[in-house]
């Protein structure tokens, strides 16, 4: 291995320290017995006391459940809408107003969240006074709002996969007697499935950690987890939030590392098989 110069090494260490030390500190302090976040109670630590309190706190559990539900519904809705839009963009060539349509579908990505949140709030209020739906603001309005802004990300992910997909695969299926809808479900969908899965995960994460838009469109009875954390922290950092954040970090890193390992293994296996096939040909 090549030797790193001391300067580069120092910068590397500093960079990582800057990124991960705060998270590490947070994890360590989640085991602190003292109620004061800044004072390490060496006598009684480490302790799982805050974790226990966390699981006894109905408010937090309820918020977590709500956030999870909204995120899962959002991701599913965004994937359906986003895939359809991506399909229209890639497959129907240069239809009239295509550029405008592209701009409109991806605009929510660059629009400040405050504006998205505010305009959606105005829309919901206007709709309610006009047709009486959606009645009040809560889980439903938050989900709708999240779908509108996460679908844009799904469009981008699925679109790039569709654009690189070999069209003759679909033609071959049609040539062998499959009708267009069948072709979509039996050939196109399985091939773009990885993109759809990453689109789903992306939408889930975006919805899961959104505070701004949710603050605009959710009602008093439906506080999502990020909103709860945010409001609690404003009253002063409490150790149970450290515990909650530690659990979240644990979940996220397990999922990311697990997925990464899985994909890496699959790719390695695939390359081995391709090599074997090519070798067999030259016998």
């Amino acid at each position: 291995m090549r030797k790193l110069s001391p300067l580069v090494l120092a910068m590397l260490v500093l960079g990582f320290a800057f990124l991960y030390l705060p998270i590490l500190a947070m994890i360590v302090y989640s085991f602190n017995a003292s109620r004061l976040v800044t004072v390490w109670d060496a006598a009684n630590s480490p302790t799982l006391k805050w974790y226990g309190e966390l699981f006894a706190n109905d408010q937090i559990l309820e918020a977590a459940r709500l956030s999870f539900e909204i995120a899962a519904l959002t991701a599913t809705g965004a994937v359906v809408l986003g895939t359809l839009a991506a399909f229209a963009l890639v497959r129907y060539g240069a239809f009239g107003g295509r550029a405008l349509f592209t701009g409109l579908t991806t605009a929510p990505m660059v629009l400040p969240e405050v504006i998205t949140g505010l305009s959606l709030l105005l829309l919901f209020v206007a709709l309610e006074s006009m047709i009486g739906w959606p009645a009040g603001r809560g889980q439903l309005t938050t989900t709708i709002a999240h779908v509108t802004f996460t679908a844009a990300y799904v469009v981008v992910v699925v679109q790039s996969r569709l654009a690189t997909m070999d069209r003759s695969l679909e033609e071959a299926a049609m040539d062998l007697g499959a009708r267009p809808w069948k072709v979509f479900f039996v050939v196109t969908l399985p091939i773009i499935a990885p993109a759809i899965a990453s689109g789903w995960l992306l939408a889930f994460i975006l919805s899961w950690d959104d505070v701004v838009i949710a603050s605009f469109v959710s009602g008093p009875g439906s506080t999502t987890l990020p909103m709860l954390i945010f409001s609690k922290v404003r009253l002063g950092v409490s150790p149970d939030i450290n515990a909650l954040a530690t659990i979240l970090v644990l979940i996220v890193s397990t999922v990311v590392v697990g997925l990464g390992l899985l994909l890496y293994r699959r790719e390695r296996q695939r390359q081995r098989e391709v090599r074997a096939a090519v070798a067999a040909d030259s016998r």
């Binding site: 003759s168 033609e171 062998l176 007697g177 399985p190 040909d281």
Partner: protein
């Protein structure tokens, strides 16, 4: 569809008279435009039942477009398509009695070899047991019995090509369209596969339409060849017809190599003609009549292997020219010469190396060339 006379009269050569002459596919004045660009122009073509028809032409001449119209992926701008007498112009691809083998093979990457080959049968709701038998039969046909469980990425190029063929044949189509089927294979594998392909076609009696830009491949595979250029079919005929009796400058030049010179008819008799060729500074004697107006601008074409090259003056009085050897390429089985005439034009000559100790011709040798009066092809287009 029994009116084959139109095609027969357009073929200027005595066409082969073997059995099975009935038209299976009829392409009737088909034009395809992409916007303002015309990819296929007024093409009419009859393809016979059970033959291997090769569409041959340079890149971008519209071969794939024509094939895709037969498969149903493109809609003709004008004209009609008939398969077995039925007008299929407006029939969607999934209802046509036609299967296609794609240039990229287009194997479904998420399905095993077995599932790929079974795909078409499944769409027809063939019973499971029968599917299993048919797939096994197809895989045996292409010698991939033991590969059913593999995924496409676990196959080599040649194996993928054979799976694609098996998949296209599994539904027992009457007509199989193949777009550059051997394009992705290396030369050796290609030659072997050409013969396998012909063998399979003969065994199943399916009508093949093969697109290729490789003239050698067209000659090996095709019972008849259609030469395309700039969206038009220039000539249709057997490989011999196309090589020995090209009807246009383009076809003469495209197939094999040829010496092509402009000329003027100076003597026009029913049994022979004489053509003055300024580039060769001679008058060429041709031992057959030609169907052209006497004033026509014609070109004479002569193949390099039909020219004899000698260091001494031949006995013949006509069709003899002199030149100086400018270039020699020794290829083992034959040698190629480029001979410069006094007019500055060059003649390409090929001579087989029959004897090991042949009289060697050398650079800058003065040589004589002559050819038989029947060897000249006169083209008017």
């Amino acid at each position: 569809m029994t009116t084959d006379s139109g095609a027969a009269s357009r073929d200027s050569r005595p066409a082969s008279t073997e059995a099975g002459r009935d038209t299976y596919v009829r392409i009737d004045r088909v034009t395809k435009k992409f916007g303002a660009f015309t990819a296929v122009r007024q093409v009419s073509l009859d393809i016979r039942r059970g033959e291997i028809f090769c569409l041959l032409g340079g890149s971008g001449c519209g071969k794939t477009t024509l094939l895709r119209m037969l498969a149903g992926f493109e809609q003709p701008t004008e004209g009609r398509l008939y398969i077995d007498g039925v007008d299929v112009t407006d029939v969607p691809p999934y209802e046509r009695p036609v299967n296609m083998m794609f240039q990229s093979y287009a194997l479904f990457p998420h399905m095993s070899v077995f599932e790929n080959v079974a795909f078409g049968l499944k769409q027809d709701r063939v019973p499971k047991a029968e599917i299993r038998d048919r797939v096994a039969e197809m895989l045996a046909l292409v010698q991939l019995q033991d590969y059913g469980a593999r995924k496409p990425h676990q196959l080599s190029g040649g194996q993928r090509q054979r799976v694609a063929l098996a998949r296209a044949l599994a539904k027992r189509p009457k007509l199989l369209l193949l777009d550059e089927p051997l394009g992705a294979l290396d030369k050796k594998l290609r030659e072997r596969t050409q013969f396998e392909l012909v063998g399979i076609q003969e065994k199943l009696g399916v009508t093949f339409v093969i697109v290729t830009h490789d003239q050698e491949e067209a000659m090996v595979l095709g019972t008849r060849i259609g030469v395309m250029h700039a969206g038009e079919i220039l000539q249709v005929g057997t490989p011999t017809d196309i090589y020995e009796y090209p009807t246009s400058r383009y076809v003469a030049d495209f197939i094999g190599s040829v010496n092509l010179y402009e000329g003027r008819i100076v003597e026009d008799e029913p049994d022979h003609v004489r053509i003055e060729v300024p580039d060769m500074a001679t008058t060429v004697y041709v031992d057959h009549g030609i169907a052209a107006p006497p004033t026509a601008e014609v070109a004479v074409a002569i193949r390099p292997e039909k020219i004899h090259i000698t260091p001494y003056k031949p006995l013949e009085a006509e069709n003899v020219v002199r030149g100086t050897i400018q270039e020699i390429a020794y290829l083992g089985d034959n040698s190629r010469y480029v001979v410069r005439l006094d007019t500055g034009k060059v003649v390409r000559v090929t001579r087989p190396n029959v004897y090991r100790h042949d009289e060697r011709l050398a650079w800058d040798d003065s040589v004589w060339m002559h050819w038989h009066p029947s060897s000249i092809v006169v083209v008017t287009r």
